[in-house]
């Protein structure tokens, strides 16, 4: 409150000076008072954002939590700290999102991500923990460097859980199980350390084998696909061959059925014909027999190329054979006539 002395035009009268000073200071006092009160008032009013709560320390002692909105505190005596209890917080392990945008880029963090599995293999595990502050008092006043502590806890728990699983479980089948177990154990550790944190979710990102081993894991995938390919090809071959064979089998059977029908029908036809003829024959055996013989001969003989009739007394055929031309002359009249009727021999 050191104000400048009055201007140089003042008379050098001590009493006069003090009087002027007193008047001036009176005015200044009011101004100062207003300023101080104003500052205090400003200092005692604050807003808590919707996702936060305000924690009040009164003379160093916890004195309650304030909900969002306009709030008052005692100036100087009360200290305020805001904690975002309704915001979901997130920590990344084994990698870092470089710039969170539509296309985030990630940078691996080998130190954090490398771990040993229960079958003494190595795996690269990246994960995210989402959590919220549920107890602002504990969050603020129970653990020093809570963020660092939380990271340590998360790493320890993840390694413990991965250490109890095979590399296959870590990389493929056991992911959901790992997430669930880590969440439970990390929550238990959070409670033990009085962090005031509630774990929402543990999410495994890409779990991979270590870089030098990756090609051999890919080779396994390829082999698996080759297995499928071989099986598919064999099945295709099966499906190509068997239905055709089944069709052919049906064809064979149908042909046999056809043969059977043919055979039986013919037999029946033949039998019926025979029976009919036989009936006729029984009534006049000799006549029928002769008639049939002659009819047959009539049909058959014209087809015969050469017809030689030999007398029953002739011993050998040779003499006749040498007289080819004569043979015709010696045949009977009827035979000769028939041969002429035939035209061609």
């Amino acid at each position: 409150m050191a104000d400048n002395f009055p201007g140089g035009d003042s008379p050098l009268d001590l009493g006069n000076v003090t009087k002027v000073l007193r008047e001036r200071l009176g005015g200044l006092k009011i101004v100062a008072l207003v300023v101080v009160v104003g500052l205090l008032a400003l200092n005692s009013v604050y807003t808590v954002q919707p996702e936060e709560v305000g924690v009040i320390l009164r003379l160093g002692k916890y004195a309650g939590t304030k909900e969002p909105g306009l709030n008052f505190k005692i100036p100087v005596v009360d200290q305020l700290e805001k904690v975002p209890v309704r915001r979901q917080l997130k920590q990344e392990f084994g990698f870092r999102s470089e710039n969170v945008a539509v296309r985030s880029s990630f940078v691996g963090n080998a130190e954090e991500a490398n771990m040993l599995t229960g079958d003494l293999n190595a795996a690269v595990v990246e994960w995210v923990v989402q959590y919220r502050v549920v107890d602002p008092y504990r969050y603020l006043y129970r653990v020093r460097n809570l963020d660092g502590t939380f990271r340590d806890m998360s790493e320890a728990v993840m390694r413990k859980v991965v250490g109890d699983r095979t590399v296959n479980e870590v990389l493929t089948v056991g992911r959901a199980d790992i997430e669930g177990t880590v969440k439970l154990e990390l929550q238990a550790l959070c409670d033990q350390y009085e962090t005031g944190i509630d774990i929402d979710q543990v999410v495994l990102q890409s779990n991979n084998p270590p870089e030098p081993v990756k090609p051999s894991f890919n080779a396994v995938n390829q082999a698996e696909q080759e297995l499928e390919r071989l099986v598919n090809e064999a099945e295709a071959e099966y499906n190509r061959v068997i239905p055709r064979a089944e069709g052919q089998a049906l064809q064979t059977i149908q042909q046999a059925e056809g043969y059977a029908l043919d055979r039986v029908n013919r037999a029946q036809g033949d039998a019926t014909r025979f029976n009919a003829l036989y009936e006729e024959f029984r009534q006049a055996p000799e006549v029928t027999r002769k008639r049939l013989f002659i009819e047959t001969m009539e049909r058959v003989l014209p087809k015969v190329g050469r017809k030689i009739v030999v007398d029953e007394d002739v011993d050998g055929l040779t003499p006749i054979m040498s007289f080819e031309g004569v043979s015709t002359a010696r045949t009977s009249r009827q035979v000769a006539a028939q041969q002429a009727g035939e035209g061609t021999p």
Partner: protein
């Protein structure tokens, strides 16, 4: 002059208040010292506190504090070198004792280094690698696509959690008289040492190759099985078809034979007639233009000719 006295008095009171009142924050605790020596009990509740003006307040943290182990390459009992990185949580449980024995946090950290690093080294050296890694004897989840892939999970006797608890217990007894309490020790990171890593990777690679080979031979095996089934089915289908067809033909032949027999075999006469008829038919089919017919005059045929001749 009166005014000056009042001002001086007020300033004096303020100074006195400043010297004898102090605030212990929610996250702190304090002890009172008189010329360097602690007096009275520790103050472990927050709020506005009072002391004699010539005494001093020494503040200590009341929260859980960190301790980071030095990441070291240590041999396990089965002579595998691993990097072990531990962390611990501790708190100042008795500020008076703490102040006397350790003075401040730096002192505490270096003492904790000695105790915890030492205990960790002992614990690792006394256990096989698998005991440090696994914490239970849980069964690995079955994976149909990788039957007995990998080495599986070895059984353990002690386990990571127990080793950790043993380190904690040992550390707790050794820090008992230091006014600090170690709350928890955890293995933060355990990794293979640089010299072991290539061997492990090679083992993993050969393991994967084994699995890949299995898949391949499995594929060939399954394909062969399918092709074998195909051959069997093919033979079955073909032979069944042959059997059925032959049976059908046989039955038909039998039926036809029976039909013929029942027609031809009625009596001696019918048998003769059949022979005659059949002979006639045979004539028709066997004789063609290349046939020479040599007929004796006394043959049956000729007798007909004679008989029917003029």
């Amino acid at each position: 002059m009166k005014r000056i006295v009042v001002v001086i008095l007020a300033l004096g009171l303020l100074l006195l208040a400043n010297l004898s009142l102090f605030i212990v924050r929610e996250d702190r605790q304090a002890i009172i010292t008189e010329f360097g020596a602690p007096v009275g009990d520790a103050i472990d509740t927050p709020g506005l506190k009072f002391k004699l003006p010539w005494r001093n307040a020494q503040y200590f943290d009341r929260r859980f504090l960190e301790w980071q182990g030095s990441a070291e390459e240590l041999p396990t009992r089965d002579k595998v070198f691993i990097f072990v990185d531990t962390y611990a949580r501790w708190r100042i449980s008795d500020p008076l004792l703490f102040f006397q024995r350790l003075r401040d946090e730096r002192g505490a950290q270096s003492r904790l280094d000695d105790i915890l690093d030492g205990e960790t080294r002992n614990a690792i050296a006394n256990h096989d690698l698998i005991e440090v890694i696994r914490s239970s004897n849980r069964e690995a989840a079955a994976d149909e696509s990788y039957p007995d892939a990998g080495g599986g999970l070895e059984e353990i006797v002690t386990g990571r959690d127990k080793i950790r608890q043993d380190i904690l217990a040992a550390a707790q007894t050794r820090t008992d008289d230091l006014g600090i309490q170690v709350l928890d020790v955890q293995f933060r990171r355990i990794n293979y040492g640089e010299q072991v890593e290539p061997d492990v990777f090679n083992r993993m690679i050969s393991e994967r190759q084994r699995i890949a080979d299995r898949f391949r031979s499995q594929g060939q095996g399954q394909a062969s099985e399918i092709l074998g089934n195909m051959d069997r089915d093919l033979k079955r289908i073909e032979s069944e078809a042959y059997r059925q067809a032959t049976e059908i033909r046989g039955r038909a032949d039998a039926e036809a034979t029976e039909i013929y027999a029942s027609a031809y075999n009625q009596s001696v006469q019918s048998r003769n007639f059949y022979e005659f008829l059949r002979t006639m038919e045979a004539f028709e089919t066997t004789i063609d233009p290349n046939t020479w017919l040599v007929v004796s005059t006394d043959s049956d045929y000729f007798s007909f000719l004679k008989a029917s001749g003029p």
